[in-house]
Subunit: 119 residues, 2 copies
């Protein structure tokens, strides 16, 4: 039995915007991702989404507003709210979501990841 | 709209083993607690429990085993597994749990906290 070291997990891959599952509990998953640049506008109709910044600083654009999330801070995007994650520099994020949550929400395109790897 | 700063939240109280809710999503809650010393043996029959160490280092004793969780590490205690959290020095932890999770699981005693404060 061993704890999961976040730094080790983040260091085990290098692609951006490609979340990995690092834990599962109560029908929810713990995902991590390295992000850099701009993601797409999307929303999740049925799921709230938790973003914790482990390293760096990101913004979540909402229609008409913007939330900055610094290292050691989290933000919960409520279901149904359109949002667009943005990271000027590389950011490491931890997410807590239902297993069913799709990274691009209501949008399906080349950035959609359907078979999330467990690492 | 503002992110939640974990350091600020942890600094806003000082009691040990008294979890506070700092976020809610998808029927789950995000709780934080300052812990020091030994907790009691207990288990959660229906709920897996996620512990992320934000500051310090803790142990989770399991029957016949022990897991160390250092800063930046997490561990998920599966439902039904008896465990006893221990912290030699003060530790700050973040937990993800269903709203229904009781801190002392199947044990009700003076350490049980039923009305968890939202901060």
């Amino acid at each position: 039995m061993q704890a999961v070291n976040l730094e080790e997990k983040f260091s085990s891959f290098s692609d951006y915007w490609n979340p990995k599952i690092v834990g599962e509990l109560n029908g929810q998953v713990v995902k991590i991702a390295r992000i850099k640049g701009e993601f797409i506008w999307h929303k999740h109709d049925m799921e709230d989404e938790f973003f914790l910044v482990v390293k760096g600083r990101m913004q979540i654009k909402l229609r008409g507003e913007e939330v900055s999330i610094n290292e050691g801070e989290f933000y919960i995007v409520p279901r149904g709210v359109e949002h667009k994650p943005v990271a000027d520099e590389e950011v490491w994020i931890l997410m807590f979501e239902p297993e069913s949550t799709l990274n691009t929400g209501d949008v399906m395109n080349e950035r959609t990841r359907e078979d999330i790897e467990r690492i």
